[in-house]
Every structure is written in structure tokens, then in C-alpha cells.
Assembly symmetry: D2
Homo-oligomer: 468 residues x 4
């Protein structure tokens, strides 16, 4: 695996659901395809034909697993789907979602983006009561709780379960006759509602709606449980309300720039981050160069604000496959070169402001800086469009442990020296909040930058990260 | 799918286990390879490295799923494995065994050859208590029962579960530190114990021992629970004893002729069936021709007894793949021809005794008779080395429903006319028992020939078949 | 690769052709499937739609390469196809036939079973004249000669080429409008003509006709050039006639027993070989056991003649894949065990006559004898249904070099000791000829048993083997 | 296939070669990986181990065909490789390069980027003389000519052949002991020379050097024949000199922006095209938006010159696979949406200058304009960074026929209406030349914009396009 692959926060998952469309499986396939950046290691779709559920899951990308003939095995008017990135070691297909099971309520499928920090306790309790688990996933805890609930109606069972089990979750549940859409009361992870030819669609990001031609209606609200079935849509808010805590990192890095999440354009936030970064961390330079693709929008903002010329000084290889054969002799910066190549003509002799979205371990940034210097850069000033990442996420993002987060352990000056930049500047916490619309009333989780966790975390989990 | 594929009783499953060998996964692979005739549709291996279990399952044959690199993912000194034939419709990987789960006892894997006629009742009860099921398999019921048992020791929990849940089962259970081997008190399905370089091995048939060079020690006894771990082997018989009821159909058709099961050579039984058949159903003819391969041993016995010449008049294609592209125009007897071709030189002008092991729906036999007539046979006398199959099996063999079993619905004469043979003769019930060693004290289930079920079957299940 | 795989004479190739049927590609696929025993390493089909040729070739077995969608790329009413075994080292797809090219005559495809002992000389000459070769195959020499010929009609060009280039060949040539079928004047390799619904079919063996329901018409005669096109069938004999020299080894081993080649049943020949072998090499014993499958027919003959009981004492594994993962520890006779397993019950305490078709290096026979001894055989008497193999074949069979042919270098007694049999007996040359119908006028090549080559071989080739 | 895939000029091919490095195959793999944008449909590598050539070719992308185990089959210190885009219909592996053959000179492999407009005539002549062709490729003509040449030395034979056969070609020829590098006297296609640890490397573009860490030395000169072998490098110019005619379209679209070809940075040329376009085709607008990725550099130049803000208003999907399952219902602009999605927040209410590199059929541009309008654009002004494409290319670029080139048939105003833009502006011929460095002495082919062909084209070929 390439070094640059190790050195980022990995997206957790993406979900997509549809109710009431003759091409449910196919549109879910397309929706997941648009959400592929949220997870590339496993993918699954479960459909309902009104009587029974049909499921296909696999390890790989959407268009590796789903061919025409596979989609043909997924009949019905309703579907849910999931893309997932798996943490190191968990390569098993058992972990791929949606999970589909049978219990006293009949058939039931579930998929999930988020994390339950207290799942482990509940899992141990369930095990003591005789439950068996097929995966290591928190999501299975939810299934057990649903199956054990005495509530006659699934909707109420769902409410009961989530009253008991706090966490970060955007969840879709499919039964032969209904689709349930659930978002946690803090709204950690995004979840959008749309409409297509009378069918109801939900997706982690609006870019999924764009591809299938669906119209964005609104976000699923924090704490909302939406039930979709033959009787239409019904919304309830049975969970104790909480102050929202939208994951700000979705705006910084995860979400696609063309998406709208929390009702706000991701590109707009990034552009503003870049502008604010230019105000907070100005520097004399000749060109602003993004680390593509995630750094592009902020770099354009930085250039616009600073008046320094924006240039595409790093070109990204279109054809990166998942495996890559390395030469046995060592080639300098080989891992990064597979992905990026400098445009020497632009870099040579120039003072470069290099803009990236985040800096995790620092190993990749270090190599990019070196690559620019080899290409002749006179100075390299790294600007990061968010504050230093100092704490792990417990709400669905796979972060390295605190020990590996360079900013949790070293001063900005020490980091600058490590990556060998002429200067290093981060966006401030306030700057980030403002760029993301805090002034307009949006309330965010920023725990990975501050260590202040909106939903407290069990002590023994501290320092480890989770996600599902 | 070819017609001949529809017209037989499908083997259920085969199991293999090993404890205490550095090449556990590789030897399990070889063992399963030898048991491939017991199931070709899914295969799985779970190993233990002493701390954790490692699992790989897949749809396909042993040597499609397990490559060098896949086996490398299965470290450890202990392993269990399973090959399986899946009934129509259940194509899901979810059904592939061994199942591996986590529960309050820790990690646990299980694989199973047999069937639980009462599983459905217990499953419904478990569901009412909140259990969730990931497959349709009976085996999952066992897992839930084990997880719910209060018994501190797994061995006792196993005993408890099977005291409550009667059925036909040869089961292997693997935990990080122990292997449990269980056979039901009637001993429906075979299970053999062997030894290789100090390691303990178990397998459905002894042919698995031959390939890996293991020595056959004895059969696992009906009702035995054998525990293998660092402290050695421990045997217990905690279940209420029962009169044995070894599946006689293993000797008729399922098992490989080079295997020894129930302590008796399969080839020997078949040879004796053929001899007895010649005594009971003599006929004047020129040659005895087997339907290869399952009819060969009985045909040789028939020839030996009758003095009629044995000839290999039907040749079997070595290269049958699982899928086969048919011409759009219809070719006479096409399905059977893909598998078998007559040796015209032998058949032409001759009176043929055709020997096969069983006759299920009659559709294939009919085509083979026709094929022989086209090849010039003067007469075709079909001899079947067992009695008419009149009842479904509830103990692990996938039988068509009673309505489809031709002998359950028509007289032998009517069947003869249907298949267009000059005569048709079956082996008698007594003849079959004698051939299989009943005189020497072996006690068999023969329910599919008599309708007399050693373990009574829940009323609502009657007429349907099960297996796992 | 398994040892038993090294220790036999490998079949060279099989050809199939059809003219005038709407399902040409599909029937060719079926025909090749029946000829799969003649070559398993590459396969190809070329069709003509009347205007253009369409080709697919691949490395692997027929049903790996040809799926529905691949066959759909092969439109037209005429087709030729080829299966091939490749000699060590030549793994390239470049060698897979049919070859299809364009030259001044237009498009042209060719496939070939046989060998040209003088091709190398002609190849060197062509290269000197500027020809380029894409493969190492003799067949390409034929293409060059056809392309260079001044003859306006392809049929005459073919005659010219083969007047100049002697050898062993059964060749099919397809152009957009015609099919040419050619067999060398000695008729070394078989080639049969059939008919199906008005379409003309040709195949290496009649078993290909049986599967598709075609009727056998006659053999293509030695020296015949048959042209099939819209004007019907036209036969010519433009080549200097020769005494026929049908490869006797086809009857001994290569051809399927259910085939008829040179107008004679292969099974019949083998049965007679067995009988004659019993006369020439009698022995006191309890049972006759074949090495399946190639030894079966001769073993039945041996048993019939000698009065000793025929028993199926070696069982052949149905599921041998091409690759097989070996355990790292050595298991005795592992390679042979993957393919064969003894039926201990039959072998134990018995004096066994083991019948096989040929003995090449002796390594496999040695292991089988050892396996039988381990299974308890009291005596093992090996009988081979042909004379000692002492010379390589230059006419299309891949033989080890003289140095590796055990019978070329050691006495029968020395071989017996090497394989550790109690006795070893070969069929005599006269016995073999008689069994194959020499009395009825058939004339055979038996050079590999006698060193007397019907078509002399260039001096420098002696000791090396060729085939295409 | 997606509509956007149809509507562009497809890159022909890319070549890479190396002489004198122990990891020749692996470095060629990496080089081809960097050149993947020049052809994605077939790929091949041939190596020399000093005695023999070793070849692997396949249909697909570099990292689909070349795995570790495949590369292991390619030993040796020298290698040549090729990526290729195949024109419609030619899906055959026969067309994949490098071709490797045997002739009187021994083994020889060749790969080629370019086209021979007169090949057809020569091919017909060769066929008349008895040559056979395995592919439809011009490159095979070269092989035949080399094989027929009487010149004792290959180098002289090469000179002879190309004296006779004019065209556009960057060619690599590998023999067991030498590498020959040839560029046509007009230098139509780029070809660069580099150095890595003492080994000689050549590549179509310098980006291949960057990935493997090689140093750019110089371009192979027009008309140069470079021989690399144990005696070192030897350069000759045996061909009649010509005025250079570097393909300007490489700078407009084909080459990667981070490459340097004809000794000039591609990014620099594109940036200048954008600036000049802004001068020639100014417009009042709010933002400049590129069609990514090919339009980015010119858009940045346009923005820089015009002072209008550069914004990334179209986002490109990272995960486009080669096949894509479409919904059966039609989704508006579906094909383009799979690749691009507008950032509504940037587009809405804005006057947009949309910058793309070329406009071929116009169908894609039309859909992009519509997509922007749906996203709320107030005005859309399309700017193309080259002149109207009015003539097909005969020198290695796969252009639609004149009938399909919209600018060959319609006025700019008519095109504007068709694509429904508010305005449409092209860069002038002079502007393009200046941007690409004509002032600095570079001489270009611009025939596709002017119809003035530097190397005249055989009459009957006019209107059709070729490439190899
Ligand atoms: N199609 C897309 N176009 C532009 N940006 C995208 C696209 N898909 C994902 N992204 C953004 O790209 C980022 C990931 O891409 P990139 O930065 O190039 O890779 P990395 O994950 O290695 O940093 C994500 O943050 C996401 O915002
Ligand atoms: N890795 C890369 N980064 C940026 N541009 C590239 C890269 N590879 C190829 N290109 C450029 O992108 C162009 C092709 O990409 P693009 O325009 O996105 O697709 P299309 O071929 O559909 O127009 C080529 O012109 C080439 O100059
Ligand atoms: N390797 C083997 N050699 C001989 N018989 C075998 C082998 N493997 C399985 N069998 C026997 O063959 C039977 C299945 O083969 P066969 O009769 O040819 O196919 P079918 O299942 O179609 O009847 C099984 O009954 C088993 O006893
Ligand atoms: N379908 C078949 N049934 C019986 N014999 C066959 C069949 N196909 C090929 N043969 C015969 O089997 C021989 C090859 O099989 P076998 O002896 O089992 O393997 P080996 O090639 O290892 O000796 C060939 O000689 C051929 O005559
Ligand atoms: S901790 Fe960071 S990544 Fe996790 S939810 Fe909060 S803002 Fe998002
Ligand atoms: S019913 Fe028949 S197949 Fe089933 S266990 Fe009894 S004997 Fe065996
Ligand atoms: S030498 Fe032997 S194998 Fe070759 S053609 Fe003659 S008989 Fe056949
Ligand atoms: S015609 Fe156009 S594409 Fe072709 S070589 Fe000339 S400039 Fe390049
Ligand atoms: Mg990034
Ligand atoms: Mg059978
Ligand atoms: Mg054999
Ligand atoms: Mg483009």
C-alpha cells in the first residue's frame, strides 16, 4: 500500500436508500457510485420485492461487484445500499453492510454510517444474555436490540433502542414493506432526503441525487425517525433532543465539494476556509498550489483572498489502481509519485504556497514538500485549511491513535521542521467555524481539533477510534 | 443445468477437522478436496492460531476458492472445514459453513453434516426470545442454544443442547483452544477418527485420510462427544443412548467406494448389492453395463454372480464443467450426452443389463435407456442396487418431495414402461441390509425405502425434505 | 504439476469443423468439448459469416474460454476449432490455433493436428526469403507456403504445398467462403467426416459427432483434399499416394474408447489388446485391476480371457483441477494419490494383475505399485497393453527424448525391478497389430515401438520430438 | 459506452523502452503506467534476457494485465512496452503491441506510435508477394519490410525501410542484443531520451521519467535512428531531412500537463493558450470554469489574463470504471453526469466562461452547457483553447470523419446555437502557434485545424483517419 494511503483520515461509510421506484436496485447502484469516495472496500445492496428481501454484498468497489447480472438478482421497488472503508485487519465479508437477518419481526436489513461509543458495553451485556455476533460491527448490536424489543411496532422498537444507545448514526432499515430512516439527535453524520418521480430517496450526500436526477428536499433532521411505506411518509422525534453537533470534518475533507450537506455547500465552506486561511496565515509567495483534489477549493479561496496566482502545480494520476507493483530498488518519494507529479515549469524558481486540507501523520506532506523542492521550488509554505488534529474521533471517522497524530505530540514549529517547509500555518478554530456557517446558526462537532466531545466517551475507549 | 443433475439425490455435506498440526489449513484443504463429492457448491475453512479464529468461505469448489495466498491467511495448528451442496434457491454465501461467531464464550466456529427435523420449532421459539438469524440453516439454531446455555463449560453446553435438540448430525466445533467432535446417538451420518504425525484428524469418510497419509483409528461413536485440546483427547457419552440408524444410502450412493464408513468398505457393500441383485433379479443377457461411476461396483458384483460379461458400455466425459452452453436447437438426449456416451461397438446387437445405484425421478434412466437403444441394444434390462425410493429423507439428504419420487407414485411395471426398459428390477430391502452388513450387527436407517423413520418427524414437515 | 502428469505421452491436438449450419460456433464448441482429452491447454474457434472471419483463442479448457457472450462474437454458418496441449515452455497464446491471417488470397484460418518433420528446413528457407513468424509452430510454415503460392485457386495451392512438405497432418482451412479438409497420404492422424441436418462436419474422433447428434459418414481418406462450399463437396487426391501408416497409439491410448477411428472401434481394439495380453503374458492372480481410465478396456479384456476376476481396485478422483496446492511436508506418493486411491478392501491380501496402457518413464507405475503394496496387495503383476516404447514420435505426439524412455535404455527385468512389480509383461508387436485390425487390412505406424519410421526423419531431428 | 467517451479525439499510443537495467520489466510497467492516458485498451511488454525475447500482451489497463507473477515472466535487462487505444471494432488481441516475431534476423519486437498513410499500398504489394498478416496494423508492414531487406545490419535495414515508407512514427525495436529508437524526419509524435542509473530510457512523454526517477536528457531528434547496445549509444540520421511538423494537438490535449515534449512544458503552452484566448475572445463574466481535467490549465490562463475569478465549478468523478450500468429510464444528461457534476453554489446566478480544450462533435459540450444552465448559470460562454477542428488526422490520432466534425460542416454561430451557449469563441491559428512556442523556432503540424498536410496523403485515404 502506498504511503499516502496511510496518511489520511479514512471515510467511514456512505448510505443510500430508495422507496417506491421500479428501478430501485439500479438507482441504488448509481447512488452508491456517487458516494464511492466515502468507502471503497466493501459494498452491498438489499432490495425488497414487497414479500422478501434480496441481498448482495461484496469486497470491492461498486462497479466491480455490481454487474448487470448481479443487479438482476435484486428485484423490487425498495432498496438500501452501503459503501464502506474497512479498518486494517478487518477484511472479512462478514463486516460488509447492509446486514440482513431474520428475527421474530421477520426479515430486516440495516446499514449504518456512524459509530456507537458505548456499543462495546452493550455488546458484552448481550453476549452475557446469550446473543451471538457474526461481525465485529456495532451495527449488529442494534439488530440484537431490535430483535429483543417487546415493542409490537418496529418504529417504536427503533425509538426504544436509540433511547438506550447513544451515538453517531445515520441509519437505514429495510423490511419487506417499509423503509426506516434514522439520524441521531446530534446529527453527527449527514443524511439528506430527496424525491425522484414520486419515489423517496435518502443519501449521505446530495451528489448522489445529482447523478440520478433526484431533487433535494431537505435534510433528515437530527433525532428524526422517518418511516416510508405504502401509507406515505411519517416523521417522528421520539428521542430526547440534543444540541446539534454536525461533523465539521465532512466540510473540511470527507464530503464531495459538489455536495450540499447540513444544508450548506461543501465547496462554499472550503472556499471560505481558504480565504480565512489567507487572512490568518499570509505569506509572500509567487503561486498558490493545491494538493489535489481535496485541497483545490481552499487553495482557490486562498489565492482569491491573497491575490497570489493560483496554479495547478501538482498533477494527479487518473489511473491509480488499488494494487501497485513497486520496483525493488527504492525510488525517491515513490509512493507519493504514483499519485502526484509536479509541473516543473510552474514550480521552478517559485515561492509556493501549498494548500492541503489536513495534516495527519505528516509523512505525506513531508514527501510532497520534498518533491516540490526537487522540482525547483524556491520556498514552500504549507497551509492547512483546518486546525491541528489533536484528538481521535469516536463518531465514525477512522483516526490514527493520539500517539500517531503528529499535532497531538509536537509543536507547529517542530512539525514544520519535520516536513521541511519554509513555513506552516493552520486555520484557527474560529476561522473554521465561521467558514462552515457557524454564524448562520449551524452547530458543529469539532472534537478532533479541540478534544471537547459533544457526546462523552467511555473512559476505556479513549485513545482508540471507532467507526461503522 | 443438465437434466441428469436434477435427477439424483444430492449429497448434503462433508466435514473435516484437524488438531495439532503446523499445516492445519493445508491439510484441511486436502481433506475437503477428497470429500468434494459430498458437496460442490460452497466450501469453507476456519483455523485457530491458539488465540483467534481465521475464516474463509466461498461459493465454488475447493480448488477454486483456496489458492496459496488464501491458505496463507489461515494460520494455526487447528482447523475445521466443510463442503456443501446448496438446495435450489439458497445461493447465498450466508449459508456457507463453517459459521464463525462471537458470543459470551468467545469465538466459536461450527460445521455440520446432517439435519435437525425439529429445528424449525426451536428457531421460532428463539426468534420469539429475540434471537436474530443470518442464514436459513439449522446449524445456526445450535449456535444460539450454545450461546444461551448457562453451562460454564462448552462441552457441557454442547451436551445440553443436543439433549434438547434431536436430529442427525456429525458436527465439528472449533474454539481458539479446543476442537469438539459430536455425532448424534443414532449415528445417522458417518464420522471417522484418524491420526497423522501425532495430530488428531476427523472426516466424514476415510478417503480423506488416504490422501493426506493419515491412519484410520476408529469411527466416532454414535452419541460420542470428543474434546481435543492441549490436554489430549477426552470422550464422553452424555446423551441418552439410541439404537443406531446409520444412513444406508451412504453405502448405496453417497460415499466414495474407496472409503470405509461405519467400519465397513463401501465398495464391498456395493459389490454385494450387485451379487444379491443378480440373485434376486436374474435375466438372460449378453453384457452387464454400469452407469458410471456410481453403478460400477454393483455392476461388477452383478456380472460376477450372474456370469454375464461385464463391459464398460457407457463412457463418462472427464471434463464436465458446472455450466454448459447448450445449442439452441434441441439435440436428442443432449443433457445426458454431455455426461455419458455409449460404446456402440459393445452395445450394438446385445442384450444389456444396465446397473445403476438408484432411480429417483426416472427422467435420466429413461434417457440412458433410449441412448442405448439408439446405439443398437437389442434389449435393455435396468437393475437398481437398492429398493424403490418412496419417502423423503429428513436426516440430511436432499430428496425430491414425495410427489416427485416416481416409485412413491407408480408401480414398478408403470415405471418400466415410462423408462422404456425391457425389464426393471430392484434389490429387496433384506437384500440391501444383508449386503451392507446387517448380519454382522450394523443397524441402519432405511427410511427412504420403507417410510419407517428411526427418529419421528414433526407432522408439518412430512413431505418436505431438509438437510444442512 | 503432479508427477503423473509428467509421465505420459501427451495428446497433441484435436480439430473440429462444420460447414453450413446456423449454429456453427456453438456446435464447434460442443465438438471441441468432446475432443478435450486431445488437448487442454489452449482452444480456439474461427467462424466465417460469408464475408469475414471471426476468431477467439484462449489459454485454458473449452468451457473456461467459451461463455455465451464469447460465442456470440462468433457469427456465421461455418467454423473450425482446435484444442491443443502445449509442450513445456511454450505457454504463449501466440501458439494457440486456429491461426487466422490475411494475405493476397484474403482472410484465411488454419488448424492442424500432426507434425511436419521437415518444417524446420523449410522455415529457415522462408526466413531467408524474408518471411516473418509469429509462433514456433510448423503450421505457420504452411500458411507462408500458401500465401506464396502462385496458384490462383487455394485448393491447388494446398496441393502444391503438401506435395512439397511431407508430414503427418489432419488440417482444416477456413476462408470466408470455403472449408478445406486435408489429410496426409499416410493418414497418420485420424479425421472423420459426418453430417448433421444437411451440414458437413469433420472431427478428429467420432465421439464429437455423438454429442452433437451428427451421423458418421466415412473417414477422410489418406491423401484426400475435400473442399466444402456453396457448390457442395468436392474430393481430390492430388498428392502422391503412400502406404497408409495410421498411428496405432491412438488405439492404445489417445482416442476415447467410445470413438471409432480408422473405421474401427477403439474400445474393441483395447479389449482385444487385453485378451491377447492375457494369452501372451499369463499369470496366476486373484484380481485384474485397471489403472483408470485408460487401462479399463484392456483390463476387462485381460479378465475375460484369463478368467481372473475384474475389480475396480483403483478409484479416480473426479475433481482434479489443473493446479493443486501441495502440503510442504512430503506425503508418500502424494502426486499419484491426488488422482488415484486404492480400494483397500479389494486389494488387501490379493494377488493383483495391474493393467495400464503404456509405460513411459516408469515413475508413475512405480508409485502405483507402491500404493497397492501399502494397501496390502500380496503380489502386483503389471501388464502393459502395448510393446515397450523405445523411440520418439515425429508425427504429432509429444514423447520424451530417447534418454528418458525407460524401455529404450533398460531391459524389461531392470524395469520390473525399478517399479518393484512381481512381474512385468508387455503386449507383443504382432499382438498389438492383430488387436488393432491389421488382419483386416489396416496399415499402421508403430514407429515408437519399433524405431521403423514410415516417413524418414531428418537426421538432426532424431532424438527430439515434435508435434503441432 | 458513455457519450462523452465518443466525443473526443482519442490518443493513439504511448511507448516506453529501457536498455541496461536489472529491473527492466518493472520499470517499463511503471513507465507505461505514467503513459496510460495515451491508450487504455491494450498493453504489452517485451523484454530481452540477452539471448531471447519474452513477451506479454493483454487487453486492459497496465495494472490489470501486469501482476507480480506476470512481471516475473519477463526477465532481462532490456524492455520495450506499449499502451494502445483501439479504434471501434478492432478488439482483437492480435492488434496489441509490441509485436514480436522471428525472421532470418532472429527474434525481433517492435512497437509504434504514429501512422503510415501509405501503408495500405505497401501492404497490398507485400501480400501480392506472398506476405501474411496477423493484424490490421501498419506496424506489421514495417516488420515485413525489415524481414525482406537484404541489408546485413538491422540498423541499415531500418534506414532502408523508412526511406521507402514515409509517415509519422516514434518506433522502438528490440532484438536480443540491441534497442533501436526511431523517429520520423518530421517528428510528428514526441519521443524523449532519458537516463537512470546508467541505463538508457526512452518514452513518449517525460512524465514517465518522473515516476521512475529518470533524468530527461534530450528529445530523440526528427529523423534520428538511435542504436543502444553493449557498445553504447550510436546515433545516425540516414533519412532525407524534412521540415519538422510536431503534432500541436499533443500540446492542446493529449500529453499530460506535467510532461515536457518537443522540449517544452505542456502546461506552459496550455496556460498561454488560455491567456491568448482571453485576449482574442474576451467576455464579461463572473467566473471562469474549466472542463476538468484537460481544460484546467487553459482556464487558469484565461482567468489570469482576463481578471475574472477562476472557480472549480465542475467536479470530476474519481471512480469511473470502463463499464457502467445505466438505468433503463432515461436520466437527463446521464452520460456526462457519470463523469462531471456542477457545483451549484458556484454556478447559480453567475455568468460563466466555460473553458475546454477542443470541440469535436459538439454533443458533450452541449450537455455540459445544459447541465450548467440547470445548475442556475445566468450565462454560459464557451471558449475553446484551439481553432475549429476541420480535418481528420492521418498521423496517428483517431479523428472522426470530416462528416462528423461539427466545425467542418457548420459555422461558429450555428455551433453556438447547437450547443446553446451564449457565446462561443475559438483560439486563432496564430494564437495557438504562439502559445506553443512557434516564435521560439518550433515547427508544428496543424493540419487538423487547417487542412494543410505536411506529408501529403494518398487520395483514397482522404476523409478517413488512421493511427497505430
Ligand atoms: N469527484 C471528486 N471531485 C473532487 N473532489 C472529490 C471528488 N470525490 C471526492 N473528492 C474530494 O476529494 C477528497 C479526496 O481526494 P484527494 O484529496 O485527491 O485524495 P486523498 O483522499 O488522498 O486526500 C475528498 O475530500 C473529497 O472531498
Ligand atoms: N494525471 C493527469 N492529470 C491531469 N491531466 C491529465 C492527467 N492525465 C491526463 N491528463 C490530461 O487530461 C486529459 C484527459 O483528461 P480529461 O479531459 O479529464 O478527459 P477527456 O479525455 O474525457 O477530455 C489529457 O488531455 C491530458 O492532458
Ligand atoms: N472419485 C470417485 N471415483 C469413483 N466413484 C466416485 C468417486 N467420487 C464419487 N464417487 C461415487 O460416484 C458417485 C457419483 O458419481 P456418478 O454416479 O458418476 O455421478 P452421479 O452423482 O451423477 O450419479 C458417488 O456415489 C460416489 O459413490
Ligand atoms: N471420457 C472418457 N472416458 C473414458 N476414457 C476416456 C475418456 N476421455 C478420455 N479417455 C481415455 O482416457 C485416457 C486418459 O485418461 P486416463 O488414463 O485416466 O488419464 P491419463 O492420461 O493420466 O492416463 C485416454 O486414453 C482416453 O482414451
Ligand atoms: S471528532 Fe472530528 S471527525 Fe469526528 S465527528 Fe467530530 S468533527 Fe467529525
Ligand atoms: S432416509 Fe434414507 S437417505 Fe435419509 S438417512 Fe435414512 S437411509 Fe439415509
Ligand atoms: S511413432 Fe507412435 S505415436 Fe507416433 S505416429 Fe507412429 S505409432 Fe503413433
Ligand atoms: S493533424 Fe492534428 S492531430 Fe494530426 S498530427 Fe497534425 S496537429 Fe496532430
Ligand atoms: Mg487529499
Ligand atoms: Mg450415478
Ligand atoms: Mg492412464
Ligand atoms: Mg477533456
Amino acid at each position: 500500500m502506498h504511503d499516502w494511503y496511510q496518511d489520511k483520515l479514512r471515510e467511514e461509510c456512505g448510505v443510500f436508500g430508495i422507496w417506491g421506484h421500479p428501478e430501485a436496485a439500479r438507482l441504488t447502484y448509481l447512488g452508491l457510485y456517487s458516494l464511492q469516495h466515502r468507502g471503497q472496500e466493501s459494498v452491498g445492496i438489499v432490495t425488497s420485492d414487497g414479500q422478501r428481501l434480496h441481498a448482495v454484498r461484496g469486497m470491492g468497489e461498486v462497479n466491480e461487484i455490481f454487474t448487470e447480472s448481479v443487479l438482476d438478482k435484486l428485484p423490487g421497488h425498495c432498496a438500501i445500499g452501503h459503501v464502506r472503508y474497512s479498518t486494517a485487519g478487518e477484511v472479512s465479508l462478514n463486516e460488509a453492510q447492509p446486514f440482513s437477518i431474520k428475527c421474530h419481526r421477520g426479515e430486516l436489513a440495516i446499514c449504518h454510517n456512524g459509530n456507537f461509543p458505548f456499543a462495546e458495553t452493550m455488546r458484552a451485556e448481550l453476549e452475557r444474555e446469550g446473543a451471538i455476533f457474526s461481525s465485529t460491527s456495532d451495527t449488529e448490536v442494534v439488530l440484537h436490540k431490535l430483535a429483543r424489543s417487546r415493542q409490537p411496532h418496529l418504529q417504536q422498537a427503533i425509538a426504544d433502542v436509540f433511547r438506550e444507545l447513544e451515538g453517531a448514526y445515520s441509519i437505514l432499515i429495510l423490511t419487506p414493506d417499509s423503509l426506516f430512516v434514522v439520524r441521531d439527535p446530534r446529527g453527527f453524520r449527514p443524511l439528506c432526503l430527496g424525491e425522484l418521480d414520486g419515489a423517496t430517496v435518502v443519501a449521505s450526500e446530495t451528489c448522489a441525487f445529482d447523478l440520478i436526477g433526484a431533487t433535494y428536499v431537505r435534510d433528515i433532521a437530527p433525532g428524526e425517525i422517518l418511516t416510508v411505506n405504502r401509507e406515505g411518509l411519517r416523521t417522528e422525534y421520539p428521542l430526547p433532543p440534543q444540541t446539534p453537533a454536525f461533523c465539521i470534518f465532512e466540510h473540511v475533507y470527507f464530503a464531495r465539494p459538489d455536495s450540499r450537506i447540513y444544508g450548506r455547500s461543501v465547496n462554499k465552506s472550503r472556499h471560505k476556509m481558504g480565504k480565512q486561511l489567507a487572512r490568518e496565515q499570509p505569506v509572500e509567495a509567487d503561486i498558490v498550489v493545491p494538493v489535489p483534489d481535496s485541497g483545490v477549493a481552499a487553495a482557490i479561496g486562498y489565492a482569491a483572498q491573497s491575490g497570489i496566482n493560483f496554479r495547478f502545480g501538482l498533477v494527479r494520476n487518473h489511473y491509480i489502481g488499488r494494487t501497485f507493483i513497486e520496483p525493488t530498488q527504492s525510488i525517491r518519494n515513490f509512493g507519493v509519485k504514483v499519485k502526484l507529479n509536479p509541473v516543473r515549469d510552474l514550480i521552478e524558481g517559485r515561492r509556493v504556497v501549498l494548500v492541503d486540507d489536513s495534516l495527519v501523520r505528516g509523512t505525506t506532506s513531508r514527501k510532497i514538500v520534498e518533491m516540490l523542492r526537487q522540482a525547483g521550488a524556491r520556498e514552500v509554505h504549507l497551509r492547512i485549511s483546518c486546525p491541528p488534529t489533536i484528538s481521535p474521533c469516536y463518531y465514525g471517522v477512522d483516526t490514527p491513535s493520539t500517539a500517531e497524530l503528529i499535532a497531538a505530540n509536537q509543536s507547529t514549529e517542530a512539525i514544520r521542521q519535520y516536513i521541511n517547509a519554509d513555513s506552516l500555518g493552520y486555520l484557527s478554530h474560529e476561522g473554521l467555524l465561521a467558514a462552515c456557517g457557524a454564524d448562520e446558526g449551524l452547530r458543529f462537532c469539532t472534537a478532533c481539533y479541540t478534544g471537547k466531545y459533544p457526546l462523552p466517551v467511555p473512559q476505556r475507549a479513549v485513545g482508540r477510534s471507532h467507526r461503522a
